[in-house]
Amino acid sequence: MQEPTFLILTALAAGPQHGYGIITDVLAISDERVRLRAGTLYAALDRLQGEGMIETDREEVVDGRARRYYRLTSEGAARLAVETERLRRNVETAASRLSRRPRMTTEPGTLGAFFRTAAVAGGAS
């Protein structure tokens, strides 16, 4: 699953949202890193709707324009859960390996420090 798709599903996991709501939510979730544009968003929504991961929740009229809300289907929620579990395992593995990495407390250029680091890194992987 690509990151924009993951973030869109995550945005909808909290509850139904309309197009611009998804964009601002994704921006917030991703720490202002992923700014979805309209073309990307609606291509993704079209695909996700085709795959049965999301569906139309309701329509409202705001300023004379139809505003459509989308919600996660149970299938979409299941796919998001699977993807989340996969990412969680990756994150946990990375975190535990990083925590087991020795800090360079001794002088870095000495031969002894090099061998200690190599032994620990080799044992952890």
Partner: protein, 323 residues
């Protein structure tokens, strides 16, 4: 209506009609909400993004779903048939060499007119050596061993290129083609069919006879081989072109069959054209088809793929009764 809104509306005209009817208003709202207060016209990046989105939606609508499933099935069959087509030529030569040999050993029976090529067990073995790599590719593709078939095909492409460019005169002249040796550029047109089949085996999600059925494909392959051999023996009831025409007409009757014909078209046209311009057109056509295959296998949601995945391993169960 502001001019910015009009300009956005013009960009939204790229989208399919039914998508526009449903989503144009909300997309417009999103675009306007994201625009700066003093913005007069759409930003370039926004325009590119809209064009890309429109293209993605149009491609998805055109290929995904029933139509996309049929295209994938067509790619799967075409990859297998392509490797069979490559096998036909060396197989034909081997069979002819065997017939010539038997003819020479039994002088009382004259099945053929004077053999056109030298006769002897060595020649049979030489042609047989060319049959083996193609036969291996066909068998692997037939059994649904996609990766192994693709790897074999690419290895054979490299060996064929080496043979065409450097080794032609040291080995069997005329075994692969009647033309002289040259550099890789000269050899490229002759390598094209093998490269095409290797690319098809690489890109097709699971090559195999799935919707056609192993039995029917075997029957037609045998019909081609028999026709080729019978032609050599001068009592050909049906010229090859007529057998080919029958296959094309039968294929054109089914939706998958028509798609197979489109996918196979570069290989078929390649048989009848020569000249750098027509070759270029064939290559362009092949690139377009392979590009579409790549897109389809990459972006089509897995939900539309059932039947093509495991199907190649159990072809008989997947064979449709009609067509």
């Amino acid at each position: 209506m502001t001019s910015l809104e009009q300009r956005y509306r013009r960009l939204l005209a790229w989208y399919p009609k039914e998508h526009r009817a449903e989503h144009a208003d909300e997309m417009l709202a999103v675009l306007l909400a994201g625009s700066a207060a003093d913005q007069r016209r759409p930003a370039v990046r926004e325009t590119v993004d809209l064009a890309r989105g429109a293209l993605a939606i149009r491609l998805r609508r055109a290929l995904v779903g029933e139509s996309g499933r049929l295209w994938l099935a067509a790619f799967n069959i075409a990859a297998l048939i392509g490797s069979i087509v490559l096998l036909l030529n060396p197989l034909h030569r081997t069979l002819v060499a065997i017939i010539d040999l038997v003819d020479a050993l039994l002088p009382g029976v004259r099945w053929t007119v004077m053999p056109s090529e030298p006769v002897g067990i060595a020649f049979v073995l030489r042609y047989l050596a060319l049959v083996l790599p193609y036969a291996l590719i066909v068998v692997l593709a037939w059994l649904g061993r996609k990766k192994a078939a693709a790897v074999c095909a690419w290895v054979w492409v490299v060996m064929d290129a080496w043979y065409e460019t450097t080794a032609r005169f040291r080995f069997a002249p005329g075994a692969l083609s009647y033309l002289g040796a040259g550099d890789l550029w000269d050899a490229a047109p002759r390598l094209l069919p093998v490269v095409l089949v290797a690319a098809m085996l690489t890109l097709a999600p699971s090559p195999g006879p799935a919707p056609l059925g192993s039995r029917r494909l075997l029957v037609w392959t045998s019909a081609f081989v028999a026709t080729l051999v019978l032609q050599k023996m001068h009592f050909a009831p049906l010229p090859l072109m007529i057998v080919a025409a029958i296959v094309v007409v039968l294929a054109a009757r089914s939706r998958t069959g028509r798609r197979v014909l489109v996918v196979m078209s570069p290989l078929v046209i390649r048989e009848f054209v020569s000249g750098i311009w027509l070759e270029s057109i064939v290559v362009a056509l092949a690139m377009a088809i392979l590009g579409a295959a790549l897109w389809l296998t990459r972006f089509a949601p897995p939900a539309v793929l059932p039947g093509t995945g495991g199907g190649s391993r159990r072809p008989e169960e997947d064979a449709s009764p009609a067509a």
